[in-house]
Amino acid sequence: MNPSDRSARRWFWYASQTADCVPLDSNAYASTTFDGEVIPFPDWACKAPDGGVHMNAELLRIDVSVAAPPNSRDEINWTCQYSVRLIAHSWLDQIRDLVDEKRIGIGAIYFNGDAIDGWSTLHERQPPSLLATEGHAKVCPLCGDSYTVLHGREYFSDPTVIGRPFILNRNGLFVREDIALSRNLRTPRGVFEPWVVEYEPHPA
């Protein structure tokens, strides 16, 4: 598609709404202390010099072991620690063809040692950051994990996003607007109604 097309620069943003997150299985992981609490510290996690913990942004696929399966109500969920994105296949199958597996890993969710049917993790390696007009960003110097606090209007400014059919970062899932409309993509359960974000180059 022509990168200058307006449709190449607009995405529906699906952000998780549910608070009913899925706890990691602390018995399956090493632990660390964070803010006075003992928390799981999986091998796919990274601890920044300032003490902040997050998924290692250099990784592609992340498998998780959970202490309880995701609820059956929501189709998009997250792990209570590290916010690993969990997707039900009932919705993933509607966008699976959009997932570029060179950028985005599809992982397994284990409960009591068995993979949970019908669910996967999704994780994009070094994803583009969603920025905001009044927000601020923080980048881990070890793995490059980027975190943005959003206030004001949100946008992408990384030119590599132009034309991409599907983007995944810590803020949610982004499906190119023209694709979502053409296939009449329904909103998955457990997220806010989609909101359009656009590509806006940084001012020179």
Binding site: A15, C21, E37, C80, H136, L150, H151, N171
Partner: protein
């Protein structure tokens, strides 16, 4: 005559109004005191709208479709009441509202006690149950709720959101401000949860001072319970 003529209006006690100040609602348009009596103020309004109807049991009920009868907005409310018809009952509600404001009785009980079967949705429109330690900050889903007027509740969250934004915290609610966003923020920024709680305590105390509310008491109790069960580290 059946109960007719009470025009329902949205709204609550004006910000900063104390219980005593709210008694100004009982002053007439010229500022003369017109104490609530069974007859009430003699100001029938020809544009009045029916909002109560008498049911088969003889008790008054709101006309379906109306969402709230805010007894605290009495000065507005009382202008549109057909007092000869419903004065006694409505005056009792108004007195009940004052009782609540002064004594802390639950307005739902007051209304029910009068025989008005106003549903919980309506009561929520009047008094909100406020989670003093917000769930998105890690507060428990089950906690003793502070009872706050709807208008004050909204104002409190506006003030809290502004204070948190100024300190670099995420939005409250919506995309970028969900429970997940807050959990992620706390995980990536060590020490920020304590800072957020400190801001919450400061905003709550200042709000109580300005508005005569007692939210801090509930917050302190809830935080103490959180520290006791380990869901928040001691400061």
């Amino acid at each position: 005559m059946a109960a007719q003529g009470a025009k329902l209006t949205q709204g609550g006690v004006a910000p900063g109004k104390s219980a005593n100040q709210s008694q100004a609602a009982f002053l007439g348009p010229q500022g003369h005191s017109s104490k609530v009596s069974a007859k009430g103020p003699s100001r029938p309004d020809p544009s009045r709208t029916d909002v109560f109807q008498r049911g088969p049991d003889g008790k008054l009920r709101p006309v379906p479709g109306w969402r709230t009868t805010d007894p605290f907005d009495f000065d507005v409310w009382s202008r549109n009441i057909d007092w000869p018809g419903v004065g006694s009952d409505l005056a009792n509600i108004a007195l009940g509202a004052l009782t609540f404001m002064e004594g802390g009785a639950f307005v739902g009980g007051i209304i029910d006690g009068l025989g008005y079967k106003i549903g919980p949705d309506v009561v929520r429109g009047i008094i909100h149950g406020h989670h003093t330690w917000p769930k998105f900050m890690g507060g428990p889903g089950k906690q003793d709720l502070a009872r706050v007027y709807e208008s004050l509740h909204r104002m409190f969250h506006d003030e809290l959101a502004a204070a948190l934004k100024q300190a670099g915290f995420p939005r409250i609610g919506g995309r970028g401000g969900s429970t997940e966003d807050w959990a992620d923020f706390f995980a990536k920024n060590a020490g920020k949860r304590d800072e957020a709680v400190a801001i919450l305590q400061r905003v709550t105390r200042e709000f109580d001072r300005k508005n005569g509310t007692r939210i801090s008491k509930y917050l302190d109790d809830t935080l103490a319970k959180g520290q006791a069960n380990g869901s928040i580290p001691p400061q």
